[in-house]
């Protein structure tokens, strides 16, 4: 079951994707997925089914055994490692389960990191980072170091970092996996809201059906491939 066809070029287009783990076990054999600009899709599935692998393949961090992935019509397998990295730098934002906030940078510096990598002006980057921190509820915390922050706060920083460079696609891997249910709910709301405000498309990978509920549509990943289970 696929969504309605709209005359807009897909942002992300995955077709006939196959990936096996080193032991030879096939994670998925014939996976298709299309994501339109601004679309928010959640993918659920059991542990070990290959949800994170799918994200890494889409991010160009891993190589598929067969099939193709295109972002903005550009096939990833036609790009070098450096070109894929630059594509990630400009077009993709990441949110991880384990936050991955660098302890030796201030919160503002952590958030500004993607802009700094794009070699934008330093003051612009810091201004934008401050703005993003404000928007995730951490106003005035820019000069702080991450050590004293709670898990929820750290993930807010991570969300700000994922959005700061206005990426076209945000990949989120269990962003609430390390948080308590209440915080998780708040962070998910924040995440969904920020994604929608930014106009970026988002692919959220999660175990949790509660988490998946914030997406426009939800798909389930099994060995047979992706199946849509819900559409808004």
């Amino acid at each position: 079951m696929h969504g309605p066809i709209i005359p807009v070029a897909p942002l992300l287009s995955v077709s006939a994707l196959k990936k096996a783990v080193p032991g030879g076990r096939v994670l998925f054999g014939d996976l298709d997925l299309t994501l339109k600009p601004g679309e928010f899709v959640a993918i659920t599935g059991e542990s070990g089914v290959g949800k994170s692998t799918l994200l890494n393949l889409i991010a160009g961090l891993d190589v598929a055994d067969a099939g193709s992935i295109a972002i903005d019509g550009v096939a990833l397998d036609s790009l070098s490692d450096d070109a894929r990295t630059l594509l990630r730098r400009d077009r993709i934002g990441f949110v991880f389960q384990a936050f991955h906030i660098l302890p030796h940078l201030t919160l503002a510096q952590n958030v500004a990191l993607p802009l700094v990598l794009q070699r934008g002006s330093s003051s612009d980057a810091m201004a934008r980072a401050t703005q993003l921190l404000d928007s995730v509820g951490l106003a005035g915390r820019g000069p702080d170091y991450p050590k004293a922050l709670s898990g929820g706060e750290l993930q807010r920083v991570a969300i700000a970092r994922a959005l700061v460079h206005r990426p076209a696609l945000i990949l989120a891997d269990e962003p609430t996996g390390n948080l308590d249910p209440e915080t998780a709910a708040r962070i998910l709301d924040l995440f969904a809201k920020q994604v929608r405000v930014s106009g970026a498309a988002a692919l959220l990978v999660t175990h949790s059906s509660v988490a998946a509920a914030v997406a426009d549509r939800t798909m389930k990943l099994t060995r047979e491939g992706l199946a849509e289970i819900h559409a808004v």
């Binding site: 991010a59 490692d81 450096d82 389960q97 030796h104 700094v116 990598l117 991450p146 050590k147």
Partner: protein, 855 residues
Amino acid sequence: MRSERNSISTRCARWMIAGEWRAHPGRAIVAAIAIAIGVALGFAVHLINASALNEFARAVRTVNGDSDLQIHSVTPFGFDEALYPKLARLSGIAGASPAVELSAGTSEDDETRITLLGLDGLRAGFVTPNLIGRRVEIGAPESEDALDESSLFLSQAALDETRKNIGDTITLSAAGHEVAFTIVGTLPGVAEGQSIGAIDIAAAQWRFGQLGRLQRIDLKLAGGADAENIRANIIAVLPADAEIVSQESAARRSDSLSRAYRVNLDMLALMALLSGAFLVYSAQSLSVARRRSQFALLRVLGVQRRALLAQVLAEGAVVGGIGAGLGLVLGLALASAALSFLGGDLGGGYFEGTRPQLIFAPVAAAVFLVLGLLAALFGSLLPAREAARAQPAVVLKNEGDVIDPSAVPAVWTAPILLALGGGAALVPAVGDLPVFGYLSIALMLAGGVAAMPLLARLLLAPLQRFAFAAASIDLALKRLWGAPSQAAIALCGIVASTSLMVAMAVMIASFRISVDEWMVQVLPSDLYLHVEGDSSGGLDVELQKKLAAVPGIAMIDFRKNVPLRLSPDQPPIAVMARTVDFNDAAGGLPLIGQSLPVPEGAVPVWLSEPGQWLYGYRPGDFLELPIGRETAGETTRVFVAGIWRDYARQQGSIVIGNEDYTKASGDVLRTDAAVDLAPGARPRDVIDAMRAELPPLLAARLTVAEPQELRALAMQIFDRSFAVTYLLEAIAILVGLSGVAATFSAQTLARTKEFGMLRHVGVLRRQIVAMLAAEGALLGTIGVVAGLALGLAISQVLINVVNPQSFHWTMETRLPYGLFATVTIVLIAAAAGTALFAGRRALSGDAVRAVREDW
């Protein structure tokens, strides 16, 4: 219940230790090897020196025979033999054996020297039976026999060295005389390897110009005699030119000259062990940092703090124990190989030519085993405290993140340690050894290492406020600034090895340049003559006149060097008679300070720096020199007019005017001369003409050298004596650098998650590599800056404390700038290269996957 709890903890600790080593066997092995190298070097140096010293002491014992006490002449000229009947009559003396003792050369071979003893066969048979010869008649049974005038007994080593056989004739030269002897037998009681000859005492006195003189009297005490009482009775009849020597004082004398050198070498070898301790510290710190959540979990599960402390210390002890055990075996093998291939001398020249047997020293082995263990425990102590201090709740919540850039590094520890180090440098020597000098160096090193977090932060502060366009450099700076304690772990190895290298280099350069400049000062003439190894003989007045008349010589200053025993515990001081120009301070001597005006009628002498240190005389003091030969037993009162710099004689020297010396001693023979050539004279021609004036056997023993040859030779000896120093230092630095490499590598591997995140957000692989190289280079720069500063401070302790207290001479500080530049470039490049290599390794794995904790 309690013991059950403890046993659970012990088992748990065992599991944890075994698990850690299974996961990272390389690190434990590298740490154990570092300890092993330190222990092996220290133990080997100690064994080689101890074996050589033992050999030396054995030689002294052999020459001295089995006597209980000896009376020794303080100069080579001997004392009046009238002392002998006086001593023989003293109560408590069971036997006395008079002896002439000369250093003899053989006419065939300049190099071979024999200790020639003139003995009274009957008396020596009772007092020193091991010095009695066994006559070997060709074709007749062996027999012990009294000595006759031309009979010579040689020890096996002397026979081997002179390549002579029983029955051969040999000409011996000693005290300015040459005498032919027939070798009639051997000295079976003399230890292997000792070159000794024995002749009849009357022949020795008559034929070597020693009539009425003895160099020593060997004494055997009566059973049950009161040694102290006898000693007092002997001293009452002893003239000034004789002294009592016991086995103990002879041992002290042979020990005292080389002791400072041996201890310094031991200390240098221990530097490698110290570097090993730093390596253990690095390895353990990183291992503890990586296992913080594991320790937190154990604390949550009910393991006590002290059990964690014990676990990390136990890891260190096992590493140290294995390393030290391995080091002892390695050290024994190293010492054995060095003794059989290189002999007993490690370059200092104290034991040159000895081929000692390796002696195993169980006490030293135990000491080095303990030192190895202590080094590893010392290296583990801080990491163990860190492990025990961890607050489980915080650690588990923060998933092991401990970096907090807002924390200010400790401010006071370093200045306190450095100040204590500075204070220790001011404490005088203990037992003639710079114990507090070494302590000062250790404290300064510790202070320098403790200063690293703060220093790293201070040096990086101006840089990190800057936003660099290159993300890799920006990230590198911010990380180093934000995590100075992590930087310090990597830095301690660099700082320790750089500072030691710089300190040693400054000391050696200062010493080398000082010696070179000193040589220019003390060798102003065109040629220098020396008659080999015959301080009691030399050129007589007739020969001196003939030499002075040789065409091409503008001026010749005849000199004499005589060893003089001023203390039974010290090696003889050198009395150097030479022309002293009173108008020119002290006749061209390199003086330290001014020469004092000489009181009317006083005999001025100039004491060398080591002489001043060893005997305690100061300028303006009077002292009694027992150099009266003709005026038996009388001393000459001399005035210390000044102190001069002498790098050639560690045992001290006294310069006295030629005429004053002759007047005091009656000795007109000279062993040395400085020659100024007339303009246009060719050195070669003058040397040939001088040789032609001398009798052939004396001419054969004459060496003539130009100052540049002497300087080149001195520098060659200098470099050889420091060769082992360079080697030990190089090994300490290699161990230090491998510690740096291990630290970088472990820190980098521990950061794979960070690299994974950076790769996700679009940092290129080469940018991460560049970031690590920048971190390495920055760390290297900080390390070198700190190492240079600390090294310069430590070099001042070496130059102004350790050297004067050990060798009793001072020098001016000279800085080897070229070496500093090389060290700086090499270390920064090495640090960046190591970081780069470690980074490539960390990135070669699937770093991306590391961002997923539950993959």
